[in-house]
Symmetry: D2
Subunit: 305 residues, 4 copies
C-alpha cells in the first residue's frame, strides 16, 4: 500500500499546476502550490502515507464535518435538521442567493457556509469560547491527534477579510436563523476553519467515520454509528461543493473538501483516506488531490458506488 | 386649493386602516397609524396644507433623493451611473438576491438600499461626519427648512436592528462596490434615513425638483436643471419600490416614498406635493397617502402622464 | 418643425452603425440598417416627418399597446389586471425565468411577451381570426390608416422560428394562464407583431394616446380617456424593455419600442412622435431612433418629466 | 429473505396513506394508492418478492436510467457530458428556471426532464421510432423481460397533457440544445416514460447495475462496468429528485424513482432492490416505497454509505 501511495503522489504531482492556491484569504495564498500528500488509515489502526502527508494546513470546510458531528451528538438529528436542510445545492458554496430565493431561509445543508454558521450558533455551550473548545476537542478525538490546534494567522486573516461570510451571517441574523451575537458566531466559524491538521490526521478522521464513530487508532468511541451514517450520506451528496456529482463519478467515495487543499474521504467499514494539495480547481477542490484519490480508488479498487 | 386638500384628508383618513405602521425598525412602530397630512407648494412659493402636515417623521427612503442630488452635483452623472444602474427592479427594495443574480454587483438604481449605500460610500468628503453634514445641508436647501435635523432615537434604532442592511453592506464590501469602513458607511445611510421632516417640507422639496433645482420658497438655486431631470425620471420608474407601475397608473406623478410614511411627488414646472401617513401598504408605501395623492391628482387634474 | 426633424435625421443617421438589425427572426434581418425616419403628429391633426418616415416595417412589440387598448376596452381594467400585473421587470423581455420565480405565473405586465400572449388568449371574440381582426381594426383606428395590414412573410418567419415564444406559451398553458389552443393563440400574437406600419402611422398612434383616445387626424374617438391614462403610465414604466429607466432619463416621454425598429412616443395633450431605425441597441431598442427622440425632446423641449 | 420482504410490505402499507397518486397525468391518477410491492434480485440470479411486486406500472423517470445507459453505450461519456452536466440541482425536477438562470442552457444532469429530453435528441439512430426501439430493447435487456412494452394509454395521456415538458422542449430547441423535430423528440421521451414494468423487473434492472452491467438472471453482458459506475454515481447524487440527500441518509443506496410509483435501487456487487407504491410524497417519490426500502436497508444491513 505504501508503495502504491508513493507512486500515485509521483504520478499526480504534475496536476498541481492545473489548479490555483486560494487567494481570497491572504494567509492561504502563501501555501506551496506544488505540495501533494496522500494518507490512508485502516480499521486495524495502521496508517500509510506518502508525499507531504505530514504538512500541516487549515481544515477550512472539512471542519464543517467536525461541527456537524458535534451538533448531532449534542442536539440530535431532529433538532439539527429542523434548522438546516440536507439537500445539495447547485449554487457555489458561499451563496446568499441560495438562501434568499427559497423564501424560507433554512440553509440547504450543513456543508455550505450558511449551514455551518447556523450550526455554530446552535451549539449548546455557554459562550463562543466554550463552543470552539468543544469543536476542537471533537476534531482531536476524530483525528486521534491531541495536539491539534488553531492557526491564529489564518484565523485573523479570515476574520478581517471575510466580508462575504460576514454578510451571510448578518443576513441569517436578520431572518432569525441565528441567535446571539453575530461577531461571536463568526469567530467560532473562522476558528473552526483555521484548525490545522495534516493529511494523516484527516485519514484517521475518515477512518473514524468508516468505523461508525470508533477511532481505529486510539480505540475511542467518538460518536454512535447513527451519526456516522448521517454524516457519510451527506458527504456523498454535498461534500465537494457543486462538484459532488463529478466527484462521485470519478472517485466514488463519500468525501469532504476544504479550500486549504485537503480532502477527507471514507470507505465505510474499511478505511479513511485523505489528500493534501493546496492548488484548487475552479470549484474549490484540490486539483491534484482529487486526481490522487481517483487514481487510488481505481488502483486499490476502493470505489464504493 | 386649501379646501380641496382638507376635503381629501377627510375623505382619505379611513384608508389609514388598510395599512400597517412599519414595525421592523422598533422606533418607527410608535407612529400614530391614523395620522394623515397633505401639502402642496407652488412655483410662486405659496404652500397649502391640511391634516397632520406639520407632523415630523423620518424621511427614510425619501432621503435617497437627497443623497442622489448631492452625488450628482459632486461627482457628475457619468461617474455615478458607472457605479449604479438606472433601471427599475421587480424585487423588493432590500433584496440581496437582486444584486447577486446579475453577477455584476452594480446595484440596479440609486433608490434601492444597495444603491444608496454605494452612494454614501462614493460621496467625496473626508469622513462619515462630513458626508452626512453635506447630505443634511442638501436636505435643508431642498426643503428650505434650515432647522431640519436628525432623529437620534430612530437612528440608533435602525443602527442596532438593521441586520439586513448590514448584510447588504458587507456584501457590497466583498464585491468592492463600496470602499472604506462598512460601519461608517452604514452610519451615513442610517442617519440620512433618520432626517426628520414634515409633509410641508417634502412638498417644498418636490417643488424644488419641479422648479428644475430652484427652491421656489427661498429662491435658492440648489442644483442645475440637468440634475432635476435625471432625478424626476428615476422617480417615475423606481420611486415607489415595486409598486411604481401601479403608482404611475393611479397617481401619474414622479414620486418617492419612504417607510416613515412620507410620499414626495413633483409636477414639473408647476408644483410639489407631499403626503404623510405612516400606515403602509404591503409594498411599503403609505396607504392613505397614496390614496390622497391619487384623489388630488384626479380632482386638481395634476396627472402628468 | 419640419426643418428640425430633418436636421435631427441627418445628425442621427451615423448612430445607425452603433446598432444591429434583429436577426433572430430571419425575415427581420433583411431590413436596411441605415434607414432612419422621424415623424410627429400634433393635436391639430398636422403631421410632420423626415427621412424614411414612410418606410413600412412591422410593429412587433408596439402592437402590444394596440392589443392592450383593445383588451381594456373589451374587458375593463379590473379583469385585465387580475390576469396580468402592471409592474416593470428587470429581466429581458422574453424571459421564462421571470414568470417562474414568482410562483404565481401572472406575467409582470402587458408589455412583456408572456403578458401579451395572455392578452391574446383573453380577448372576448369567438376565434383566432376574429381576435386578430379586432386587433388590426384597433391598429387602423389608432393610426388612422385603414390600409394597415399584415406582412405575411414576417408572420410566417416568426411562426416557424420562434421556439422561445412557443416555449413561453406552453408554459403559460401548463399554469392555466391561457385558455384554448396554444398554436391559435400564438398565431394571434405573431400576427399582431407582423402588422406593418410607418413612422408616420406610429406618430398618429402616439397622438391618439396623447389626445386621450381621440385620433386628431380622423377625429375618431377610439377609446375613452381612462384607457389612455393607463396605457401611457405603463409606457413610462415598462415601454422600452429593461431600458425604460435610461429612456426616461434621456428622452423623458412615455414610449413603446419594437424589434422591428420602431419607437412610438406620446406627449399627453400635445402630440405623438415616432422614430424608425432597425439597427437595435443591446436591449432591443432602435439605436438611432432613441438618439433622434432624445435630440427632438431636447431641441423642441418636449420632455415630460 | 422472502419473509423479511413480506413483513416489510405489511408494516409499510399504512404509509401509503401519507402520499398521493400523481394526478397531473390523467392516466396515472387511476393507480391504486394502497398498492405496495417489494422485490430483490441477487447476483446469483435469484429473485424474491412480496406484495404487489408483479403489478405493472409505467417507469416514468426510471426510464431516464435506461436511456442514459444507451446513450453512454452509443456515444461515450465524453460526448454525453459535453451536452449534459452531472451535478445535482436543488430545484424541482421539471424546472425551466434551472436551465435559464445559468445562461448556458446545459441541463444539470441526465435525470432531470430537460437532460433526458436532450438525450432522446442525441441518440444516434435514424428516426424517432428507431430511437425508441433501442431504448425499449435496452430496458428489456436490463430487466431480462423480453415482453416489456409501452402502455399506450399513458403515452397518449402524457402526450396530450404535458404542456410543461412541451414548453421545456421548445425552450431547449430555442437554445440549440436539441436538434430535429421537437414533437418527435417529445414522443420518444413520453414513450420511454410509458414503458410498463413491475417491481420484479426493476429489481433485476438494479441487479444488472450492481453486476457492473451483467444481468444476473439472463447472464447477458448488457453494458461495460465503466457505464455501470457512472450511472450508479449519478443515482446517488441525483436519483430521487431534490430529495436525494434525505434518501441517502435514510436508505443509503444509489436509486432512481419515478412518478409512476417505482423506485429502483442498486447495491454494487450484491443485489438490486425495487419498490412499487404509487402514492407519492411531496417530492414525487413513492411514500410507502421509500419507507419499505429504508426498512429493508436497515433490517438486511444493505446500507452502502
Amino acid at each position: 500500500m505504501q508503495e502504491i501511495l508513493e507512486q500515485i503522489v509521483t504520478a499526480c504531482r504534475p496536476y498541481c499546476s492545473t489548479g490555483k492556491v486560494a487567494s481570497y484569504i491572504p494567509e492561504l495564498s502563501k501555501a506551496d502550490p506544488f505540495a501533494l500528500g496522500l494518507a490512508l488509515a485502516g480499521m486495524d489502526g495502521k496508517v500509510y502515507s506518502a508525499g507531504d502527508s505530514d504538512h500541516p494546513f487549515t481544515m477550512q470546510s472539512i471542519a464543517k464535518v467536525v461541527s456537524l458531528c458535534l451538533a448531532l451528538m449534542e442536539l440530535g438529528p431532529e433538532l439539527v435538521f429542523s434548522k438546516i436542510g440536507l439537500e445539495s445545492v447547485a449554487d457555489p458554496f458561499n451563496s446568499i442567493f441560495c438562501l434568499e430565493k427559497e423564501g424560507a431561509f433554512k440553509p440547504h445543508n450543513p456543508f455550505i457556509n450558511s449551514g455551518s454558521i447556523v450550526l455554530a450558533s446552535l451549539l449548546p455551550f455557554p459562550d463562543g469560547d466554550s463552543k470552539f473548545e468543544a469543536i476542537l476537542e471533537m476534531a482531536r478525538s476524530m483525528t486521534g491527534n491531541s495536539t491539534l490546534n488553531l492557526n491564529y494567522d489564518v484565523f485573523y486573516s479570515e476574520k478581517f477579510t471575510s466580508d462575504r461570510n460576514r454578510s451571510l451571517a448578518y443576513f441569517l441574523k436578520s431572518t432569525d436563523s441565528i441567535e446571539g451575537d453575530v461577531e461571536e458566531t463568526l469567530d467560532i466559524y473562522f476558528k473552526q476553519c483555521s484548525i490545522e491538521a495534516t493529511a494523516i490526521d484527516l485519514a484517521v478522521m475518515g477512518a473514524t467515520l468508516a468505523g461508525n464513530g470508533r477511532n481505529p487508532v486510539t480505540g475511542e468511541e467518538v460518536f454512535p454509528p447513527e451519526i456516522a451514517k448521517i454524516v457519510r450520506a451527506l458527504m456523498v451528496t454535498c461534500g465537494t461543493y457543486d462538484g459532488s456529482g463529478e466527484f462521485a463519478v470519478k472517485v466514488g467515495l463519500p468525501a469532504k473538501s476544504g479550500v486549504g487543499g485537503g480532502i477527507m474521504a471514507t470507505l465505510p467499514r474499511r478505511m479513511g483516506v485523505a489528500a493534501y494539495g493546496p492548488a484548487l480547481d475552479f470549484r474549490g477542490n484540490s486539483a491534484a488531490g482529487t486526481k490522487a484519490l481517483e487514481m487510488l480508488s481505481e488502483e486499490a479498487d476502493l470505489r464504493l458506488f
